[in-house]
Symmetry: C2
Subunit: 362 residues, 2 copies
């Protein structure tokens, strides 16, 4: 028996890089030694080899499958994180005489707004900053001549999530870094979707971009080759050497999603886990949630202790029980349990039991 099999896994509630399915980790580990029995590690395999070209193609196809996207959409595995898409989206899609609308629902939205403002007029339609971003603004007045409306569908730090899209005919650009592939979506509402891989899709190191072709070629500015979406589209996301291992691990996760039953099954799985945890937060007199009920995220569940003096004690319980990654972001405090697709029900149950045990011990 090899040593790693003796290690007790932590219950990993990290906000990102985050938990991946155990079967994905096992396949990903094996491929580092030898890829499919060919006598090469995936790490040392040419990206122009037939084997890797097939990896990239299957990954792009599965993204389309899970999103229900047709041939009018292109799928790219880029790098630079969602943080790079903050400026690339505007640089590629917003003409300097154009106007784009943004909703400010947290730190990442605010950064997207700041970077986009370098390239055109930005209209911030609403912000929940006044309430420390603990709700999603609604009833937006969206001008029909906007090039796009940008939203952050799930706000990792604050634990809010859009459960209904704003009503508009303007194409939506969505930062889905922390809830992509967690539920079915109506792809036709989106002009572009982007997501850093390291929350719900794979390891850090690749950024997924899905773009509807009619969004492109409407700006006149000069764009460096590597920053131009067209560059990567023309070369099937292989213009230069792609981040091959991160893309491969994303492929393994995309296959796992299919085997698990796809987006409908993920929605049920995620709702069931979130409901269990929110029910305990609402029932247990020692804890309380921090987010408007109707905007609670199914991915990131922030909560605090009613008595601030309990905070350190419950943190110690978590550490003792190998429940990791539950410390809340400094801008919210308390706790945050990130329960992405790969989080098993058993770990959520384990956390809930720890909360109940903590209650009995007081």
């Amino acid at each position: 028996m090899k040593s790693e099999t003796l290690v007790m896994k932590q219950h990993n509630f990290s906000a990102g890089p985050a938990i991946l399915p155990q079967i994905v980790l096992e396949q990903a580990s094996q491929a580092v030694i030898d890829y499919n029995g060919i006598g090469l590690s995936i790490l040392e395999m040419s990206h122009r080899s037939p084997e890797f070209v097939a990896v990239m193609q299957e990954a792009r196809d599965l993204v389309k499958l899970h999103l229900g996207a047709g041939d009018d959409y292109e799928v790219l595995f880029l790098t630079g994180g969602a943080s790079s898409q903050f400026f690339m989206a505007a640089m590629n899609l917003l003409d300097e005489n154009g106007k784009a609308c943004y909703v400010d629902t947290g730190a990442w939205s605010a950064k997207a707004i700041k970077e986009a403002a370098l390239f055109g007029e930005i209209d911030v339609l609403a912000s929940s900053k006044d309430q420390n971003y603990n709700y999603i603004p609604k009833g937006l007045n969206i001008p029909s001549d906007a090039t796009y409306l940008h939203i952050t569908t799930n706000n990792t730090i604050y634990g809010t999530q859009y459960h209904n899209l704003p009503e508009t005919n303007v194409p939506i650009i969505a930062d889905m870094s922390s809830d992509i592939f967690s539920r079915p979506i109506d792809i036709n509402r989106y002009g572009m979707i982007y997501a850093g891989a390291q929350k719900n899709l794979g390891p850090a190191g690749t950024t997924l971009v899905i773009i509807r072709k009619d969004m492109l070629n409407k700006v006149s500015r000069t764009i460096p080759t590597m920053l131009d979406y067209n560059t990567h589209i023309k070369k099937d996301s292989m213009f230069n050497t792609p981040p091959s291992y991160p893309v491969y691990v994303c492929l393994l996760t995309l296959r796992w999603l299919k085997e698990m039953g796809g987006m409908d099954a993920m929605k049920t799985h995620n709702e069931t886990k979130a409901q269990l945890l929110y029910n305990e937060i609402d029932r247990n007199p020692l804890f309380k949630g921090t987010v408007a009920l109707e905007d609670r995220s199914l991915m990131n569940v922030p909560f605090v202790t009613v008595d601030p003096a309990h905070q350190d004690a419950f943190m110690a319980v978590c550490k003792d029980k190998r429940i990791s990654g539950v410390k809340g972001h400094r801008s919210v405090g308390g706790f945050r349990a990130s329960i992405y697709n790969a989080m098993p029900m058993s770990s959520v149950e384990f956390l809930v039991e720890a909360m109940q045990e903590f209650e009995r011990a007081q």
Copy 2:
């Protein structure tokens, strides 16, 4: 015995992504299952965890150690490949009224020139394009008021390499993607060095940037946050989620380099391997080299068959013997053996024996 141990490794002469040391692959595989016995995969570990912060810090420190760089240099692990540094170097370092000098030694140099021209005056001092880039231009007339001189120290496609730097007091910016850490360098000659990891350092997915601080803050243009070197320097290369696994594998390689004896030992190792292969190319009447003798690369060794009719036959021999990645780039033809740091002497000997056997069989 697990199945992977039964796989006969290929002799991997790929130009990149390229061979990595076997011990690195074993450690890299293990960390995907469990990182240092902590009960988490490195793929699902927060980049803000003490464990990963230590990975990044050690990797940056070892880069400085191997290059002999002091505190006046900063080390960043970015993304986007050397292709992104083509424009980022000029965007960050070349003012719109400034002038930069470039030497055109191949396809990658030419791309660097094209992207830099978006940001200032570019003076192409020399080009070897007229001879299909089979030599390194010398005797450059470098204007002393240039902001920098850009060179590609090793030209992967054509198999040429600078064995002496141009004589100048102008700071050199070097694309060292395919020969970084292959030999000692005089770091003080360089204002900046960059390298995609996937040839001599690690897997695809991270780009190493080493920059001398006095090169910075001399341009007035507005730069998106993620494209500004200062952004990443201020946050110790962790402004946003870094490509954590590619960085970790680079760390493993940097440790291996140290254990192997560092840059002096690598120089001897690489010279010995290259000499063996070039000697055979020059001795064997069936083969010939394609590059000016004094500019031959120690990393990428292109050669052709004297009789074009022998080409397919020798390619078949290679395939039969599991010698992989030796097909020459389409712009040179023939064969190219990439013999980076991690390439063992035994595989070079194996290739040479195959060439001798091929000679005897004709």
